[in-house]
């Protein structure tokens, strides 16, 4: 088993966590209402930067996540803007009752930073893998859910959460993320997906650490197969960007979702709900953990094992290209698109526009 610590570089110097810590300090400088809370994980969740700068506005609740959220809710009621940080797995499950009743039901202005999302803390084992957190928190009323792709997007998400009244859950990785953006100014908007690569053959919708993998997969698909893959970074799962999803369905008719999470209830499910609700037909595949716990090891290896790395995305896309044929058929005197996937004929989309 791999070690828990990096051999070469101190973990605190890595991008995502560092940017998260700095952004929180920046907000603290700007607004005295910003306070930070942790459940004995200040160093691991990088909220310790805030502690050093504003010790009087930093609260360690001990290993007591329920208290963490209860106190944060109370502080928000009192007019503060609490950023409560703990591991995603604890934020979403150990303290679900407080998250539900104290924060979401009260619709208070608490920002939850769930670190070590997905299998990013792979070596720590299943108790520290957050593979169900999005399914849990997505269902909670009033809670907005963001899964940033890298450190820059984390900074944007933190600022957007600060500027948005009400509870927000931000799921970030352990901190050793690949960078997909070159800076913070790419037009981040809460609730709006980001088109990372253009393509009209297949669409790959990803978030978090899977965005980097999806972008690389698009490059490989282009280089090896001449397949033009569209990649969408759907950083906000709730509220979801219906427009970008449905445009992709219309343009490519082949959708693959990729998430470091169980395929039950997460990004894939959310995208699937949008498509189902629209009545549009498309070939659809969800990549993620298939109702199973993850193995234990380095995140990169787990992403491969769990089928969400570049190689597996490429395989899924190639398979879909081979088995999902977009065909045109005549309907009501008009030529419409239909899709045939793995032997199943899906109905052609019907144009309900009245003729004038």
């Amino acid at each position: 088993m791999g070690g828990m610590n990096y051999t070469a570089v101190e973990s605190t110097k890595m991008a995502t966590a560092e940017i998260f810590g700095k952004t929180l300090v920046e907000l603290g400088e700007k607004d005295p209402r910003v306070v930070a809370l942790t459940a004995d994980l200040a160093k691991s969740t990088k909220i310790g930067d805030f502690q050093k700068r504003f010790p009087e506005r930093f609260f360690n609740m001990g290993i007591a996540e329920q208290n963490l959220f209860g106190v944060a809710a109370g502080m928000a009621k009192g007019g503060l803007i609490p950023f409560a940080s703990t591991f995603s797995v604890f934020a979403s499950m150990r303290a679900t009752d407080q998250l539900h009743t104290d924060i979401c039901y009260q619709n208070v202005n608490v920002k939850i930073i769930g670190t070590h999302g997905g299998t990013s803390f792979g070596q720590a084992g299943s108790t520290h893998h957050a593979i169900e957190d999005i399914a849990m928190v997505r269902s909670l009323v009033n809670l907005k859910v963001i899964v940033p792709a890298d450190g820059y997007e984390t900074a944007n998400a933190i600022r957007a959460a600060y500027e948005t009244e009400g509870p927000v859950y931000i799921r970030i990785n352990r901190g050793f993320d690949q960078t997909v953006y070159t800076g913070e100014h790419y037009g981040f908007q809460l609730g709006k997906g980001v088109l990372m690569t253009e393509g009209d053959d297949v669409t790959i919708i990803a978030n978090g650490s899977c965005v980097f993998q999806a972008i690389q997969a698009a490059r490989v698909l282009e280089y090896d197969y001449g397949i033009h893959a569209r990649v969408i970074n759907l950083h906000t799962i709730k509220p979801i960007d219906r427009e970008i999803i449905l445009q992709a369905v219309e343009d490519t008719r082949r959708i693959i979702t990729v998430e470091d999470h169980t395929v039950l209830g997460g990004l894939g499910t959310a995208v699937g709900e949008v498509i189902l609700d629209s009545g549009h037909a498309c070939a659809f595949r969800k990549l993620g953990l298939n109702d199973c716990f993850s193995a234990i090891g380095f995140h990169e290896d787990l992403m491969h094992i769990n089928g969400i790395d570049t190689e597996n995305i490429v395989k899924a896309a190639v398979h879909m290209m081979q088995h999902a044929q977009v065909v045109e058929m005549e309907s009501g005197g008009r030529v419409v698109k239909a899709v045939r996937f793995e032997g199943r004929d899906l109905e052609a989309e019907i144009d309900w526009t009245d003729e004038v």
């Binding site: 791999g2 990096y6 051999t7 070469a8 570089v9 050793f176 690949q178 980097f212 972008i215 690389q216 997969a217 490059r219 490989v220 280089y223 090896d224 380095f298 990169e300 491969h304 790395d309 570049t310 190689e311």
Partner: protein, 278 residues
């Protein structure tokens, strides 16, 4: 009867024939004074070593030169080269190219092609002087060439060892997803090289990895700092902390690829001859 040929000898021979000797073309193409000596010339130059178990009884790499342009043929014995350096056994070949001895090969076609051979010898000596040096060259031009030789040699050597079934490297490759390990010096794109590994297969390549961003890139800030690490003159952790070396991508995997680079180096320098495992 010659000394028994061990598996490690075969690994070393493979690295010399398939990874190191082909660098002769790189050396020649990098120096105008060398490449101009071959302008307009056409001939076949072969380096070989007798080995009864090899097809045709010898192992070889040969260069087909047409109008001064070199094409390298590895794993291929030319039946009638114009110039040939033939070692009587693999041990002598390895001792010679690792710089640990000077057993002279049998030379064919040398007198008939004296001028061409002299130019080849100059190129071989330059390559040997660079690769066998214990200190980095002082001139930047030589540093750049030596980094290029290392960057081309080492990933190729790992790939060759994988293909030869080297236990540790092949086991690693068998378990590997599709991943690329790249080597780069900022500001010197011509030095880029990479190693792609997937489910037991491997491929060493030159230039930027074309398919996607590599799984891991060892990026140096200068040729000199690259040589410090490649020649074991500096500590990798120290250089990372000073940002002379950055590990882009998956840093946890740098140690393993680093270990394999040094494995190739141990074969190329003949250090394995000091091992007491066989």
């Amino acid at each position: 009867m010659g000394k028994r040929i061990t598996q490690d000898d075969l690994y070393a021979a493979r690295i010399f024939f398939n990874s190191a000797l082909p660098l002769l073309r790189v050396v020649i193409e990098s120096r105008r004074e060398l490449s101009s000596a071959f302008r307009g010339k056409s001939f076949v130059f072969q380096v070989s070593a007798l080995y009864p178990r090899a097809p045709g009884g010898k192992m070889a790499t040969h260069f087909v030169v047409e109008n001064g342009r070199f094409t390298v043929k590895v794993d291929a014995v030319h039946p009638s080269p114009d110039i040939e350096l033939e070692f009587s056994d693999l041990h002598k070949f390895i001792l010679f190219f690792s710089g640990r001895g000077m057993p002279l090969p049998r030379m064919r076609g040398v007198l008939k092609n004296a001028a061409t051979f002299a130019s080849l010898l100059r190129a071989l000596l330059l390559m040997a002087s660079l690769l066998q040096a214990s200190d980095a060259p002082k001139k930047l031009q030589d540093q750049v060439l030596l980094v290029k030789l290392y960057f081309y040699l080492l990933p190729n050597g790992i790939s060759q060892l994988n293909k030869a079934g080297h236990q540790k490297i092949h086991q690693w490759a068998l378990q590997s997803p599709d991943r690329a390990y790249a080597f780069a010096v900022t500001g010197y794109p011509a030095l880029n090289s990479y190693l792609r590994v997937k489910e037991g297969n491997s491929k060493a390549g030159r230039g930027e990895y074309p398919r996607c961003k590599p799984f891991l890139t060892l990026r140096f800030d200068s040729p000199r700092h690259a040589l410090d690490i490649l020649m074991s003159k500096a500590d990798m952790i120290d250089y990372i902390s000073k940002q002379y070396l950055t590990v882009e991508g998956a840093p946890e995997f740098a140690a393993l690829i680093g270990e394999f680079l040094f494995t190739v180096g141990d074969y190329a320098k003949g250090l394995y001859l000091d091992w007491k495992t066989e």
